[in-house]
Amino acid sequence: MSGREYMLGNVAIARGIVEGAVDVVSGYPGTPSSEIVDTLASMKERDFYIEWSVNEKVAMEVASGASMAGARSVVTMKHVGLNVAADPLMTLAYMGVKGGMVIIVADDPSCHSSQNEQDTRRYSVFSQIPCLEPSTPQQAKDMIPYAFELSEKYEIPVIFRSTTRISHGKSDIELAPVSQKTGEIKFEKNPDRWVMVPKNARVRHPHLLSIQQDIRGELEVSGWNELSIEAESTVGIIACGTAAVYAKEALERLGITASFLKIGTYPIPEDSVRQLLAKTEQVIVIEELEPVIEDQCKVIARDVEFETEIFGKADGLLPRTGEFNVDICMEGIAKAFGIDSCECKPANQDMELPVRPPAMCAGCSHRGTFHVMKKVFGEDAVFPSDIGCYTLGIQHGTVDTTLCMGASISVASGIYDAGEKKPICCTIGDSTFFHTGINSLMNAIYNKSDITVLILDNRTTAMTGHQPNPGMGKTATREPTVEVAFDRLCSAMGAEFVEVVDPYDMAATEDVLERAKAYKGVSVVIAKRACVISAAREGIRYTPFMVDTDLCKGCRKCLKFGCPAIEFDEVSKKASINSMCSGCGLCIEICTFNAIMEVKK
């Protein structure tokens, strides 16, 4: 494969991984990173090992092990996943690697699908692991083979920071040939290096510090940093990532000539920064999220006593939150350099529009589970929840807390431990339970909580694109494997009330939840039913349902159920079921007038 192709940024990154002759890939799904492993796993021919791990810490450790044996490895995750993997990350910096290891982390400025918008570059500074940051999907692909080489040269992993607009942006991509594999895979015993007991760690810390200057020097001339000095201009721009591209467009639109330093590496290219500061009177630093470069530029300027004014986030010209775009850059640049921004005022359209939040799909089994849960436990009960499709239950009043992956059970225990007297029923998805929910459940059982844990087992990791997990009996490449039995796992951890129920059977679900609520201690209920999207893909078809308009009294009870397939006709004042109906039949039990029935063939 060569030439030019139209690709998603994550697909381009996957291509870069292949071009870099990878041996082992691991990851945990998380938007906007998931398509990297999905793309590699769906390849028909592949000369590397690939897996979805149960969480990011495990994924990082798998990649580290591979690298210790001399293999080139990649681990992928989203920004919050790096918190889970932070423990191995910090020690890996000391220990270093043998085969090139690239840690791909996708940040999500503006929280398009995340619980916070942290900046992975902070982890690079924190751990002293170098970081590469592309500004286009093309560069994202091209950087990966280089990242392997850099990692091998200094025997340290390399962080690769993507953002939503790189990962989920599309572009024409120029492909390069696939490298030949060179490394020999063989684990060599070397306890001084691979065993971080204090004696060895104390040696590796100064080593880590000692290579920083060399790495900085190497990155300075690597070509990922681009400096162009405009002799005629006294103003300059320093920018990184996708913000560098927005800044270039902003300059063109404003008609400004400025010196420009595009930064693509951390440690940052200090000599280039000095050169730019020496030639300019005013500089604005443009970077999404944290002022990582801005702060360092100020340190450099102070150390060499440059009088250049440095603008950015500290003075409020650019925001420290949210995603950037050309307009934000234009405004910041114009303010910093005291010029008029030719603001394009959009036409005034002040019509009030209905909000359109994402919702659980028509036929989603979670809707039925939540409905029964609320009925049994009462609306005043406490419903801690977790991260996945079911977080959308917030619209149904069935999600009271969402902290991070795996936290629902531990938060529920904490609420109970605090002395809360209301019933507590927490929900967690199957993949999330494997991710870090297992620890929390073990803790709740061991420490004698009195809560109900509802595992919403929809047989997949649905939210991020249906990646397999250990409950499905399928690997990343869809090969059959062992299928973890939730009920036996929970029993083994000491849970005495463990039951499996089909949430499409609302009467049975109600019965189980009544008994679970009454049980003193940790009760576990596994609501097991395949995700409607997966079921449809596997060719499972149900008969859709309809409303008998003669029987419908227009009470709107079915509409409160929140199914996108149920509508209300304001003219006839009757409910109706649209073409989205997937035939789950849950609404039959909602209707008190028996007006909902299967469509007769």
Partner: protein, 197 residues
């Protein structure tokens, strides 16, 4: 104000599940096969679950994938309210090709919000833009499958794109499931006829 930094900037607005990503993919691939630089940005994740979706495609552009406010040459709106929600991205006098058949959000069916009259949306948009609005759902049904709505809309916007019709048709052929090629090509034709002068 459109600019010469891009040959054609297109905003695609719609609802998760309507096939907005597919449309942008067909346009993007077609542009690459014409030798153009292309940049595109899409909505992923939560918005796929029936949420509001906006995609950007920039043809003949080597910059970022986000279109600056009020500067897109055109909009393809798969749903009327979503046209209104993102219209600020489009330059004055830009072309707006819009399906006028609504999809009610859960907030409307459950009575928390009201849905504006689609005709009122068209009237408002006509003040500042060149608007072509029609019932694309009816045309998709006529083509043989309601799911071809996105391709009907692609056909309608195709008259304004700097890409030859044959190239788009070829991309549709290659990118839809083999069994549905005829239906999709019919959908494309029906859509194109709505805007061909």
């Amino acid at each position: 104000m459109t600019s010469d930094l891009s040959n054609f900037d297109l905003v695609i607005a719609g609802v998760g599940g309507q096939g907005a990503v597919k449309v942008s993919d067909i346009i993007g691939k077609a542009a690459v096969s014409e030798g153009m630089d292309v940049r595109a940005a899409e909505t992923h994740g939560m918005a796929q679950r029936g949420g509001s979706v906006v995609n950007y495609v920039r043809l003949g552009c080597d910059l970022g994938s986000l279109i600056p406010c009020g500067s897109a040459h055109g909009m393809l709106a798969l749903e009327p309210v979503e046209a209104m929600r993102y219209i600020h991205d489009v330059a004055k006098d830009g072309i707006v090709v819009m399906n006028n058949s609504p999809i009610y959000p859960v907030t409307v069916t459950s009575g928390q919000c009201t849905y504006p009259d689609p005709q009122e949306i068209v009237t408002r948009l006509e003040k500042d833009y060149r608007v072509v609005a029609f019932d694309a759902v009816a045309l998709a049904r006529q083509a043989g499958n309601i799911k071809t709505l996105n391709v009907v809309m692609l056909g309608a916007i195709s008259s304004y794109l700097p890409i030859p019709e044959e190239t788009l048709v070829e991309c549709i052929r290659n990118m839809v499931p083999p069994k549905t090629i005829d239906t999709n090509l019919k959908a494309f034709r029906l859509g194109r006829e709505t805007t061909r002068q």
